[in-house]
Amino acid sequence: MPFRLLRFALSPGYPEPRMFTAHDAPRPAYDVVIIGAGGHGLAAAYYLARDHGITDVAVLEKGYIGGGNTGRNTTIVRSNYLTPEGVAFYDESVRLWQDLAEDFDLNLFYSTRGHYTLAHTDSAMRTMRWRAEVNKHLGVKSEVVDAGDVQRAMPMMDVSCGGHAPVLGALFHEPGAIVRHDAVAWGYGRGADRRGVEIHQRTEVTGIEVEGGRVRAVQTNRGRIETRKVLCAVAGSTPRLLDMVGIRSPLYVHPLQAMVSEPVKPFLDPIVVSGSLHVYISQSARGELVMGSSLDPYELHSTRSTFDFAEGLAAHMLDLFPCLSHVNVNRQWAGIADMTADFAPIMGRTPLDGFYLDAGWGTWGFKATPVCGKTMAYTVANDAIHPLIEGFGLDRFADYRLTGEKGAASVGH
């Protein structure tokens, strides 16, 4: 037995340093306040400290670290988008992902699996060819494959889908991967914590003070904090925060549900998505099937689960994998997705000086965690928009300059 383990048994206290420093109460002032200790907020804190030397930062979290959409997504990372802005942005994110475990000295279980987006119709095949060409032009590994290739990669799949929606082909994206999502938040959080950033959990922002068109302070349930710069990275709670500062936004909020099965023998290596059947599925390292579908059909701010979702998703999944008919569902949950009209995020500065926004990440924000952190840290530190997020500003709606990222959600919404 390794002696390291023995220390845990014999030591009266916990022998290793804890993951995070526990702070008593927030101080009365910080250079930067980040609202939301999910992946995006913690990544921004991490890059602010590491790349820009700004460590007088507080991250405020209403709940606990990574307890929102960071811990509720289906952990898929890919960059096979449709618009050049989208592909460049997400490809930078995939590159960052691949070095992250070393950066953190923490195993993220980053597992490159390959990602198949199935096409069941001629028009879907045309879109796959379009996406493949945009991807290849920008140096991203994507190609169109036929139904035989899909069958060889996933022998357990019924590519005829019971005869009513046969698979014609797929967009195959080799770098598609899954990552342990909690570890991403913990890694960024610990990295920021060690550089002097303070993370305050169970600290809810109740108001934002503005003076002369500029942020002056935030009010919390644990006291008032003076600051000149606030980064808001709170996903489904963004409209509530924006109401505090009187900024209108095109966000709309729907829940997105997912579920996971009991562990079964490994049989599915790649990640598979079908936009027509509204289903995506991957198998975790533990053997569980992680499954998701499209957004809930109406606006809601509650993370309740519905039987309609589980039933609908299971029906479609059985079209693809009839062999799973006896498998039990273990857990089901929901996250609150902040959606935009053009399926692109809202990032950067706002009409209020010192108030920065990282929102509109809807159902596709997890994969962008590293690049969001990096570009938002740059934007906050320099008060200047990072070139990679120029197309994602809040002002694009008033100017009718939408980005139109139809590849954003793997399942059509």
Binding site: T238, Y298, E299, L300
Partner: protein
Amino acid sequence: MKLLHCPVNGPRPVSEFVYWGEIRPMPDPARASDAEWADYVFNRDAAAGVKREWWCHVPSGVWFVAERDTARDAVLRTYLWGEGA
């Protein structure tokens, strides 16, 4: 299964209904500025609260108004347009 009360057909499974968003007054297109029109087209009141919304019972084509608390997923009441006030 969740039930929704259609003012014409009574309680029906929610899967028979389509949600069409919050009821919002449209500015006069001839007089609205570009900024006012963009605000109407894109911007939403997306924070949680009690909202008046359009819903449709699809099999019978009945459009009606629902007052719903979006924090609790609780429908407070439903009525046909013009009958609720």
